[in-house]
């Protein structure tokens, strides 16, 4: 007889590979806008968490731009303490349902995972998948896990832009006891998370749920209020003790080739905004913003935005979706998982093709896109092999729609209104010091408006660094001054 029940011994899961995640079959999912990966259930999540060997060095924590204590939350999931695990994540990251979906874990926490030994056929711990499970668990069980909020400091913070950098900074600053107001130019919160990332990768309900969590913590949101237009930055600087600019990279680039203003040529931003933000895929009936019935479409580019555009187009059920990219597969900047999903869905990849002209159908709309065939030459400044034209080889794709997804620059709406704010003249990005402070003492900046265009999690990481710096600035007058608050240590800023 044993009166005191013993804690069961931890049984690690020695599987070399990640617990597979169920997903919609490609032929089903291209008929709808529902999410593709279906997520783990409790058992799957627990089993995956039990693959973590709780190593001494914890490289994953350093690999995470927001410094989540990954082994700790995995351990709690292994014990089926899902609420505890959520609390652990939310110490560092208030948006797990989002990050679990859109972070490039394979380049961060999972890349440096001790388990990750591709040569031995061993995969890293599925950190992103378990994180996503927890975010969804909170939604399904209606758990409002509120982090501790420090006593009110009486200081006011304005956050300009409600994308990933802005939301992270807002979340951190409210927890530090400040009074936070977020200003958003559009009618919905989330920035690129709303207008850019498609419903099938990040359901809008998940995003809105995370945002309402911030509201419950006391963050105020002001929509339809583009700073630089509705109010000047100078006025905001006077009204608030500190300002964080996170206005993102919302300025689409075009190719500069003939025919680019024909009807049926969209920037990826416009195409995705029409479909995601405005719900154009529900036109007519569920949305008043039209998207044309597409028969044949070419998406130019090979980054994540290009994959999002191509996969979005596929769901509008055209005959064919071409992806056209001037370099080769090796140089494609998109996440491997996204490329894989696009291929599964039947996107027709045309690598080493460089668009040279968009041809008129005779009625002012797109009739075809003419491409120069390329081959790889010597490496260029970026270290990637430069594509060079193969003389005399061109190819015409008959299409009615072209989406240009070759990148974007910083949105100038705010900076144009405030010429005194120092910025990089060539790139249009805002210049900051090592702690994300701009040339105005009480104004900090982060995310794509500083980097020129990067990932969601990098923007979030910058939101975190800026929040720590702004907090020190508010409390001591100097963002470098640690004061008594030793917790405010910057995580790595890569």
């Amino acid at each position: 007889m044993n009166d005191t029940p013993k804690k069961p011994k931890r049984v690690f899961n020695k599987s070399k590979t990640k617990m597979p995640m169920r997903e919609q079959a490609p032929m089903d999912r291209i008929m709808n806008f529902d999410e593709v990966p279906l997520g783990y259930n409790e058992i799957e999540a627990q089993q995956e968490a039990l693959r973590c060997i709780d190593c001494k060095t914890k490289p994953c924590v350093a690999g995470c731009p927001v410094g989540i204590d990954i082994p700790a939350f995995l351990k709690l999931v292994g014990d089926k303490d899902f609420e505890g695990a959520l609390k652990k994540i939310k110490e560092k990251n208030f948006l797990p349902a989002i990050c679990g979906r859109v972070c490039p874990q394979e380049d961060q926490c999972e890349m440096v995972c001790t388990l990750n030994k591709p040569d031995k056929g061993r995969e890293p711990g599925g950190v992103g998948r378990v994180e996503r499970f927890l975010g969804d668990y909170a939604v399904e069980h209606n758990l409002d896990i509120m982090p501790d909020i420090a006593p009110a400091t009486g200081k006011t913070v304005a956050v300009i832009g409600s994308g990933p950098a802005g939301l992270t900074a807002a979340s951190d600053m409210i927890q530090k006891g400040h009074d936070v107001t977020v200003f958003e130019a559009l009618h919905k919160p989330g920035g690129v998370l709303f207008y850019g990332i498609p419903q099938f990768r990040l359901p809008k309900e998940i995003l809105l749920r995370e945002v309402s969590g911030l509201e419950k913590m006391g963050v105020k949101f002001v929509m339809n209020y583009p700073i630089g237009k509705s109010e000047s930055l100078d006025s905001i600087r006077e009204r608030f003790d500190v300002v964080f600019i996170a206005t993102g990279a919302g300025l689409p680039w075009f190719l500069g080739i003939p025919g680019e203003n024909l009807n049926g040529v969209y920037s990826a931003n416009e195409f995705l905004t029409r479909v995601n933000l405005m719900g154009g895929y529900k036109f007519p009936g569920g949305s008043d913003t039209p998207v044309k019935k597409i028969k044949r479409i070419a998406v130019i580019g090979a980054g994540n935005t290009a994959m999002d555009s191509a996969r979005t187009a596929k769901r509008l059920q055209p005959e064919v979706v071409y992806l056209v990219y001037r370099r080769s597969r090796l140089e494609m900047p998109a996440r491997i998982e996204e490329i894989h999903h696009a291929e599964q869905e039947g996107i027709d990849f045309n690598l080493l093709h460089s668009p040279i002209e968009i041809i008129d159908d005779g009625k002012g709309a797109v009739g075809a896109i003419l491409c120069q065939e390329m081959e790889l030459g010597e490496p260029d400044d970026s270290g990637r092999r430069r594509p060079v034209p193969i003389e005399g080889k061109v190819r015409e794709f008959a299409v009615d729609t072209v989406v240009i997804a070759i990148g974007q620059g910083p949105n100038p709406l705010l900076t144009a209104d405030c010429p005194e704010l120092e910025r990089n003249e060539r790139k249009g990005t805002i210049v900051i010091n090592d702690l994300m402070q701009t040339s105005f003492e009480n104004v900090f900046a982060g995310g794509d408006i500083v980097t020129g265009g990067a990932t969601v999690i990098l923007a979030m990481g910058q939101g975190r660094v800026a929040a720590d710096a702004m907090h020190r600035y508010l409390m001591t007058g100097d963002p470098h001054e640690q004061g008594d608050d030793q917790s405010a240590v910057c995580p790595n800023l890569t």
């Binding site: 130019a185 209020y225 075009f254 009807n263 913003t289 044309k292 100038p412």
Partner: protein
Amino acid sequence: MGNKIVYVKELAPLTKLFEIEVPHIAERGKAGQFIILRVNDEGERIPLTIANRNPEKGTITLVFQEVGKTTEMLGQLDVGDEILDLAGPLGKATDIPEGKTVVCVGGGIGNAVVWPQVQALKAAGNRVIAILGARNKELLILEEEITALADLTIVTTDDGSYGRKGMVTHALVDLIDEGEKIDEVITIGPVVMMKFVCKTTEPFGIPTQASLNPLMVDGTGMCGACRVTVGGKTRFACVEGPEFNGHEVDFDELITRLAYYQPEERSSLEDYHRCRMEDAADNLPSSK
């Protein structure tokens, strides 16, 4: 939400004037700038130029024509109703010269934009001539308001039911022929009208600003739906305009681009009409 409608007036058939409480836009808006609004949660974002504003009352004035589903739904709203989303002021303000002779040429609903321009031009000490065009007398709007401000107002109607019979360009040519020394022309109205106003002034070398009305989605420079070709270069009308040097604008491209979604817009409006009729039928007293 805010954006409460405090005054409604029907200016002409299917043409309404709203005064809306939006203090920050009333405070900062300038002639030539626009707002973007959305009527409901499935609604599209549409740009409307700010026709007038009253910073003391915290209101702005919008004038719109009920030509599509969104503007028809907007027209259903009344005093006390609130507009779901309203953002602005967007775009660049009109370049207002000082101490010059300026002719403002408006047509149709564009006359609503001539109104703040004449105000701003007069305030900067210009001599202002307004040429207001309309298809007929019934559709002419804001004549009284503009006449009260401008040094000279000329009205033209296509059918001769009021003012001079003919086009605004005829009146403009006559002004030039009469020896009026015109330093600048600002034009706003149907694209074809603006195209011919610019063609009229070009041989005389009169600088002409045209206020363009391309399709827009976000209105903040993010999507590029509003791109227009000016002087051979692609420009975003929402942030770099909406006013451009009219002699450099590719108006034919603008006309083509504006027509792209017309079939969808038409079917959307027809669906809306059908729904409204069905609703009305459902609400009829039973015939039994």
